[in-house]
């Protein structure tokens, strides 16, 4: 399955119509959606889960309010409005359009009620023929392509995924989903249903023979099975309570750690504050440098502005004189020497006319003026050069000052983080005592629960032994007439078939478990750069191990990042299994797309790079939704080499703290401008193909 487009129509925060497209290119499988917090990334994830499988994630707030607020308000009190999501995808050579609509009624103010919800699946097959399925049939159709129970393990939030799949019920669900992908659940269901068929045959024998003893034994067996079921549930419940109590103890321990860590935090804050002071001084110094530079270059700043004007005025004056200065000077010299003016009057030294013409000589002696003029222009040009130097220096100091300011912001953020922690943990001895008491009582609760679990488990074993005996007794009872003998024969045949199914299930389970373990280990080693290896339990619950110096395997203590990577490896291993199975047509399913909201939150830079380099090789489509600030990893050359073309959508809200601007997206040499619309919580999205 590859999703090509999602179209929103007044659904949640997407007012009006908005479309987001994704890359379906096999060799360029990554699509990225950047968006600020609250811009609708989680909404996109939920729109897919909702429209295809009627699922919404736990962190999706107000899940019953699906029609966009402003659209519902605009229709008026007592009227209904519709929101919808349309998803286009490709699967096994066919094209699909799934439209799911939701109608709500405006009840005034914040109140509303759901009126209707419908679904339609449109299929265009390889021959171009169309088929439509509606509601339940539509769900069945989708379920055949991508089972509902798998959806949340391929479309998930990276931040909450690990905690969702590692709690007890999460582990069970995940294990079941894994067994489903691997094709094991069909054997499990076959065993479950053939057991019911076997019970029916036994009842039939009892009825045909009118065998009271058999009937009683069957009733006894039914009761035993009922009690076993109750006890199993009780044991599960106790296990869940133990897990809860252990988690609470962990939390208390974390709180208690605060009291130990407070001195460390205070020291860290002092260090940070000292660093901030130092940076502040540097900022002041650079500001002074800047002021001095400006003061020093005041004249050149002024002159630069006027130089061109002065030069052009001078040039035009010079041009207007027409007669060359040197010629003019020699002409007046010759005039004075000849003693006759051009008007015909005599020129005698000491007379006013002679002095007047002599004055023209000094005015007309433009050789000096020309020289002075050239000097002036040259000095003005020099000021131009000085101005360039000034600008370079100005930019350098400004950049340095900005760098220092951001560094200061970071340090201040860190310092306020520690201040918050110090403030929160500013508790007194009384509180420590309270925590200790709570811890002791939780510990006691754990002990009690473990005792109960032991008792229940023992009881369970006894009941299971009784059940076995009862079954043996039933199996031994000889049927009395021809009809019942035939039923017994069928009963025996069914038991023989069940034994074979059990054997086959065990063999397949074992082989697949080893295969997936190996695959998880390979992927994890590439993602985390550690030598930890994966082990899967009977129920396909994952545990990572490492080897001691003596080569003994022991459970590995994983950091948050590695824990997340271990489950990414698990999903990637399943995807790889299905990917290769779909390539060789040996799977019932095509490769599944993987869509992750906030994929990198727990991971460091190197881990992020490894994820983005490796996972696209294990699936036909990878859709990542992240903050714009997380796009650094997408820009690194090795990632770009491995992801030669990236589809990018950008989401922004009017609420965004970032003003309208341009951003550089990975691989793009030109900035992509985005628009923030004025209406509250409206979005702009754009698909750009880069490189």
């Amino acid at each position: 399955m590859k999703i090509s487009q999602i179209k929103f129509n007044n659904w949640r925060c997407f007012n009006g119509e908005e479309t987001i497209s994704f890359s379906t290119d096999r060799f360029k499988p990554i699509s990225t959606v950047y968006g600020t917090n609250g811009s609708g990334k989680t909404t996109i994830l939920n729109s897919v889960l909702w429209s295809l499988w009627d699922i919404l994630t736990d962190d999706f707030e107000q899940p019953t309010r699906l029609v966009s607020n402003s659209h519902l308000a605009s229709v008026g009190l007592g009227k209904s409005a519709m929101g919808s999501v349309e998803i286009k995808f490709e699967h096994a050579g066919c094209k699909y359009e799934v439209v799911r609509t939701y109608i709500e009624k405006n009840l005034g103010g914040e109140n509303r009620s759901a009126v209707d919800s419908r679904m339609m699946v449109k299929e265009i097959d390889e021959r171009g023929e169309g088929h439509d399925w509606f509601n339940e049939d539509g769900f069945d159709r989708i379920d055949k392509m991508f089972p509902r129970r798998l959806a949340k393990y391929f479309f998930f939030n990276g931040e909450s995924f690990v905690s969702d799949v590692t709690n007890q019920s999460g582990q069970k669900d995940f294990g079941r989903a894994v067994r489903h992908v691997l094709g094991l659940t069909i054997y499990e269901r076959a065993l479950q249903h053939s057991k019911t068929a076997k019970d029916d045959l036994e009842k039939s024998i009892a009825v045909l023979d009118n065998d009271k003893e058999l009937e009683e034994e069957i009733v006894k067996q039914g009761k035993l099975e009922g009690n076993i079921e109750i006890l199993k549930k009780a044991v599960e419940e106790v296990e869940e309570n133990i897990e809860k109590a252990e988690l609470e103890i962990e939390k208390i321990d974390e709180e208690l750690k605060n009291f130990i860590l407070i001195n460390e935090w205070i020291a860290k804050r002092i260090d940070l504050e000292n660093e901030i002071d130092k940076i502040d001084n540097e900022i002041k110094m650079e500001s002074n440098n800047l002021m001095n530079l400006i003061a020093r270059n005041n004249a050149c700043m002024f002159l630069q502005r006027h130089a061109q004007e002065v030069i052009s005025i001078g040039d035009s004056h010079r041009v207007q004189k027409h007669i060359p200065a040197s010629f003019k000077e020699s002409f007046i010299h010759d005039l004075l020497k000849s003693g006759l003016c051009i008007c015909g009057e005599p020129l005698v030294s000491g007379e006013p006319r002679y002095d007047k013409v002599s004055l023209r000589l000094s005015e007309g002696a433009l050789t000096d003026t020309e020289e002075e003029w050239t000097n002036l222009v040259n000095s003005l040009k020099k000021y131009g050069d000085l101005r360039n130097d000034f600008e370079i220096e100005f930019r350098r100091i400004s950049a340095r000052r900005n760098e220092l300011r951001s560094k200061k912001d970071e340090k201040e953020y860190d310092a306020s983080y520690f201040s918050g922690k110090i403030e929160k943990s500013g508790k007194n001895i009384e509180e420590i005592r309270e925590l200790e008491d709570k811890r002791t009582s939780k510990k006691q609760l754990c002990k009690n629960l473990l005792v109960k679990k032991g008792e229940d488990s023992n009881q369970l074993k006894l009941l299971e032994a009784d059940l076995k005996k009862s079954q043996a007794k039933i199996d031994k009872i000889e049927p009395k007439n021809k009809q019942s003998q035939l039923e017994r024969k069928r009963h025996k045949l069914l038991l023989a078939a069940r034994t074979e199914i059990e054997k086959e299930l065990a063999l397949r389970k074992d082989a697949l478990r080893k295969k997936i373990e190996q695959s998880i280990t390979n992927i994890f080693m590439q993602l985390s750069a550690t030598n930890f290896f994966a082990r899967l339990s009977e129920e396909f619950v994952l545990t990572m191990y490492r080897r001691t110096e003596l080569g003994e395997p022991i459970e590995a203590a994983l950091g948050k990042g590695d824990k997340q990577l271990s489950y990414y490896s698990f999903v990637a291993a399943l995807s790889e299994f299905n990917f290769s199975a779909s390539e060789s047509k040996s799977s019932a399913y095509e490769s599944f797309p993987i869509m992750i909201d906030a994929p990198f939150t727990q991971l460091d830079g190197d881990q992020q790079k490894r994820v983005i380099s490796l996972v696209p090789k294990l699936t036909h489509q990878l859709i990542l939704m992240m903050l714009e600030s997380a796009n650094e990893v997408m820009k690194t050359p090795d990632v770009l080499d491995l992801t030669p073309k990236v589809s990018v959508s950008v989401l922004y809200t009017a609420n965004s703290a970032i003003p309208a601007k341009s951003i550089f997206l990975p691989g793009s040499s030109d900035p992509i401008s985005y628009v923030v619309r004025t209406q509250e919580r409206e979005h702009f999205s754009k698909l750009v193909q880069v490189r």
Binding site: E136, D140, H193, K489, L494, A496, K503
Partner: protein
């Protein structure tokens, strides 16, 4: 499928046929919302294979 059938009187072929039949029933029902009747299909399969 490797069938050891020393403990019962049925041929390997027959047991394999029932196993394949049950799995086929499950496969057909895999996407249906209400799998309650699957065991009845299994009984039907057995009764067809072992008639009076």
């Amino acid at each position: 499928m490797n069938t050891e059938h020393a403990e019962h009187q049925f041929s390997k072929e027959l047991v394999d046929k029932i196993v394949a039949g049950i799995l086929e029933i499950e496969q057909k029902r895999v996407h249906q919302q209400n799998p309650v009747l699957v065991h009845e299909d299994i009984l039907k399969l057995l009764r067809e294979e072992l008639k009076e």
